[in-house]
């Protein structure tokens, strides 16, 4: 029966069983079984070529003029100065010396243009690739990645977020983000000291109890719950759990990433990617700088500067950068004109032009794509839409951007509606 079950599973082109197919073929008992263990090994073997993505989310929307597109000496430039980088010809804001030193691995996109200037809606657009409309909830890109290239039987979640984030929308709990709030610690309640045989008995009884409740009319809730319990159970036994901690990590490496929450979060992200988690989001808050944008930049940028540059160095040294997409962005940009808000002026919401940083997974480093005018008011070269960005992310992750997702009522929607891969982004 073991081999039969394996033979009947359809492998997708990356050697993974598609989620739906797995659900149909393998009976989803709550307890893990030997079929699953055997299958897990195979999948891990087949998945070697799989890509990963680390999204560094700067919540609140960082200013493009204080990050990768400074305009010193112009009326809009403010106090921000520019510095040269490892790549001749590319200059960025002076808050980012360490990023400047790894520019050869980075592609900047200076000509993003979006449509949503409110935080919630912008966050949604830049996480799902869709604008918030109607009641349909589109999945986080991380959930799409988890579904498409994650191992459906992975013993730890295929999508981990360090900090709260969006949900998996209509893709459901199977690919929902697993959220941890403090990096460097094991997820809460992940251990129990019940003997295996006893735990098995408990779970068997539970699954009968659940079946009755499903029959009484709660089928959808029970189905969801069973999936969650199955996942929780395999996670409890996972040897990969240690990736959440810093076990075996040299002290020097922890310091290299910086002692900040974000730095430590990025180190956890690298460890998770190393053990095969295909999508990790790490959040940094406090980028909504309506007031005193320059002073706030001095305060906020160093942690990201240190952690993010170290992440790129570290991934590269381990040979992981080639297949790991690193992307750092926020929900939109900020007004080129400095506002008149007393006591200390800042910048407000602005969606017409903003920027972001990408690296790894085949992306050509040492370049800045797109250009804005001298005052930072208009894009003068290569405008990039959110759809273009998502197409490019799909390409980096080797996911078909034209694939159809199905909403709960079966309505097919394209993963990415339109757009083109950003020109020149890949080498």
């Amino acid at each position: 029966m073991h081999t039969d079950a394996l033979l009947h599973l359809n492998l997708n082109r990356r050697g993974n069983v598609s989620r739906r197919n797995f659900l149909q073929s393998a009976a989803l008992g709550i307890a893990g079984s030997s079929i699953l263990t055997q299958f897990q090994l195979n999948a891990a073997e087949l998945k070697k070529e799989g890509r990963s993505c680390i999204l560094v989310w700067l919540a609140g929307a960082p200013s493009q003029m204080e990050t990768w597109d400074p305009k010193p000496g112009t009326p809009n430039g403010g106090e921000t100065k520019k510095i040269s980088t490892q790549t001749p010809g590319i200059e960025i804001a002076h808050y980012w010396p360490k990023i400047a030193s790894v520019m050869n691995d980075i592609a900047l996109v200076r000509s993003m243009t979006g449509k949503e200037a409110a935080h919630e809606r912008g966050t949604y657009h830049l996480h799902t690739g869709h604008r918030m409309m109607g009641i349909e909830r589109f999945p986080h890109f991380g959930s799409v990645v988890a579904q498409e290239i994650g191992d459906p039987q992975s013993d730890i979640p295929n999508f981990v977020s360090i900090g709260q984030t969006l949900s998996s929308g209509f893709l459901g709990v199977q690919v929902a983000p697993f959220i941890i709030n403090r990096p460097g610690q094991l997820p809460a309640n992940v251990f129990n000291n019940t003997a295996d045989s006893r735990q098995k008995r408990r779970l068997a009884l539970l699954s009968q109890q659940e079946k009755d409740f499903a029959d009484a009319g709660a089928a959808s809730l029970v189905k969801e719950q069973s999936k969650l319990y199955q996942k929780a159970h395999s996670m409890m036994k996972s040897p990969r759990l240690k990736a959440f901690k810093f076990e075996g990590e040299p002290q020097a490496m922890q310091e290299a990433y910086g002692k900040s929450q974000l730095g430590q979060g990025l180190l956890v992200a690298r460890r998770l990617v190393e053990v095969g988690v295909p999508f990790v989001e790490v959040r940094s808050g406090g980028w909504d700088m309506h007031n005193s944008v320059f002073k706030n930049m001095e305060r906020r940028a160093p942690d990201v500067d240190q952690g993010l540059s170290q992440l790129l160095i570290d991934l590269k040294q381990r040979g992981l950068l080639e297949k790991t997409l690193v992307i750092c962005m926020g929900e939109f940009g900020r007004t080129p004109k400095i506002n008149a808000r007393p006591p200390v002026p800042g910048r407000d919401h602005w969606v017409r032009n903003f920027n972001l940083l990408m690296a790894g997974a085949g992306i050509k480093g040492g370049q800045a794509i797109g250009k804005t005018d001298a005052n930072g008011q208009e894009i003068v070269d290569t405008p990039v839409q959110v759809d273009d960005l998502f197409r490019s992310m799909c390409k980096a992750m080797q996911i078909n951007a034209d694939m159809e997702l199905h909403t709960p009522i079966g309505r097919p929607v394209k993963l990415v509606e339109s757009g083109e891969v950003i020109k020149g982004l890949f080498s």
């Binding site: 409110a118 109607g134 129990n192 009884l205 539970l206 109890q209 709660a218 319990y229 004109k337 919401h349």
Partner: protein, 539 residues
């Protein structure tokens, strides 16, 4: 019960002033037209009595309320639970064939307890209810529970969560607890929903600079305004969201993509909440600003010289008493219906175009009658809970056409899960806090959009304190004293608030028999029920 129309006026000219004001509020357009004829003459100062205290505001509102046509109509109209069932059957048409069966007494008592008190009924309550032969026992139980403190507390908690869930206000400047206590007091004495709303919207919290972190948050009703950080834009979008069930937030930045609300309308509403001259930022360049005059969503304009606190009172009046503003009553009806039935006639706070409302004639009729019944929350609970719709068995609902042919199994809210756990293991503040965090959910999202998490599963499976407390609990001690048969029955009654079925009894009995240690087996049985989906679900 809070009495209406018993406002005492100190002297008659005050009454005349009120009437003047009401005319100004309710007939703003003709007034404006009259003023235009006068040419450039300055608007005379409005000689209003002070409206500084809540009592004065209530006096004004009480008067406006009495002049409402609906108040008089209400005395002649009745709408019963039977009427509701008939109206819905008419709407559902062919789908009535798919109606789920009516629930048995045992399911009813659990459902009603969870909905009205947020607690499970005790085994004694269940037994007494089932054995009662009274033909009115279901409606009597509803009446009885509506008079409990627990009812008031449960719904106060719900609304506090609705108001604070997405609030970004500084934690030192708000007091969700004060709001909850005040709301509990109101629900307890049966305060009408319009009164509660008006108190919340017209509150004008004052900062006491002499006391650290005193922003007036200790006075419960101030906290809606404080949750909105007293920002006019936030007050506008939250008022529309919570009290009208409509989403106009995105109109802050651009015309609503699929609805009638325009960007100007949003800012006119924000201007209404603004103490001074309100300026709308330009869509493209926020540094460019234009002055916007206050106007309520249906076009109501306040008297120009009205002071900001009086203006707040008039917003509340337009909201609750303009008969054309059917959104107000309907938003409340839809929320309560949603909580009780598991699905709303539309997503509670994000109504786009009105055409998205499902079975509109039904919800509009309930809403109109809610208004006739003086916005009495308990009337609405009685109406819905005594109906056949509410008393149907649960079913997984996957298509819109199935809505209201059965009740949707609903996830219990974090405080209800915490209360169920507390009932088993006793008080534990740390555990309570952890459950509240792990089971946290947005009270304004529809049930269909909520999801569980691995963290929840891990907590219920493994939490050290929870497991050891269950194993040393009073319940366990009691169970250990019983025969196997009695044990199983008592277990189900205590944890799931129902009797075990024959199959369940057999299954659990054989588990007990096959186990080497009876104490361990009992722990296992408790563990299984606490981890069951049913434990965290309203069936």
């Amino acid at each position: 019960m809070l009495k209406r129309g018993q406002f005492h006026y100190h002297c008659s000219h005050l009454l005349i002033l009120f009437i003047t004001l009401i005319c100004l509020i309710l007939v703003p357009i003709s007034l404006e037209a009259a003023q235009k004829k006068k040419g450039k003459n300055k608007t005379p100062a409005l000689n209003l009595p002070p409206l500084k205290t809540q009592e004065q505001k209530m006096q004004l509102l009480g008067y406006i309320r009495q002049t409402m046509p609906t108040h008089r109509i209400g005395r002649r109209i009745s709408f019963s639970s039977d009427d509701l069932d008939k109206a819905l059957e008419l709407e559902l048409g062919q789908n009535t064939q798919r109606f789920a069966k009516q629930i048995d007494d045992e399911t009813f008592v659990r459902r009603v307890y969870l909905d009205l008190t947020g607690n499970l009924p005790t085994p004694e309550t269940i037994k007494t209810f089932i054995s009662s032969r009274s033909s009115n026992k279901r409606s009597n139980l509803i009446d009885e529970l509506l008079e409990t403190e627990a009812y008031a507390r449960k719904w106060a908690r719900y609304w506090t969560s609705v108001i604070f869930y997405d609030s970004e206000a500084n934690k030192n400047r708000i007091s969700p607890k004060a709001l909850e206590d005040w709301l509990a007091e109101q629900f307890n004495k049966g305060a009408p929903w319009d009164y509660i709303t008006v108190m919340l919207i017209s509150a004008t919290p004052k900062r006491n600079k002499k006391v650290r972190n005193d922003y007036g948050q200790k006075y419960g009703p101030n906290n809606f305004v404080l949750a909105c950080e007293n920002k006019s834009t936030e007050l506008a979008s939250q008022t529309a969201r919570i009290f009208m069930g409509i989403s106009i937030k995105c109109a802050e930045c651009h015309d609503h993509p699929f609805d009638n609300w325009k960007r100007e309308q949003f800012h006119e509403l924000a201007a209404f909440f603004h103490p001074y001259t309100y300026k709308m930022p330009d869509k493209d360049d926020p540094t460019v600003k234009t002055v916007v005059k206050p106007r309520f969503l249906l076009g109501e304009k306040p008297y120009e010289k009205m002071k900001s606190d009086a203006r707040r009172v008039s917003i509340a009046a337009y909201l609750a008493y303009n008969p054309k503003n059917y959104w107000f009553a309907r938003a409340y009806v839809n929320r309560i219906w949603s909580e009780l039935i598991g699905d709303g006639f539309y997503d509670v706070d994000s109504l786009g175009p009105d055409s998205d409302v499902i079975h509109k004639p039904v919800v509009n009729r309930i809403a109109a009658n809610f208004r006739y019944k003086d916005f009495d929350p308990k009337w609405l609970f009685r109406l819905i809970m005594n109906s056949k719709v509410y008393q149907r068995e649960m079913q997984t609902i996957s298509s819109q056409s199935e809505l209201f042919t059965s009740v949707r199994p609903s996830r219990l809210r974090p405080d209800v899960v915490a209360a169920s756990v507390k009932k088993l293991v006793g008080e534990d503040k740390k555990l309570h806090k952890e459950i509240m965090q792990v089971f946290d959910m947005n009270p304004s999202l529809p049930q269909g959009a909520l999801e569980g998490s691995i963290q929840q599963a891990l907590m219920m499976m493994n939490h050290t304190t929870l497991q050891s407390k269950l194993s040393q609990s009073e319940l366990k001690k009691q169970l250990m004293k019983l025969s196997d048969q009695e044990l199983v029955d008592a277990l189900y009654l205590n944890v799931l608030a129902r009797h075990a079925t024959t199959e369940e009894v057999e299954r659990n009995l054989s588990y007990l028999k096959e186990s080497q240690s009876r104490a361990e087996a009992v722990d296992d049985l408790i563990w299984v029920l606490v981890n069951s989906t049913e434990f965290r679900t309203k069936r």
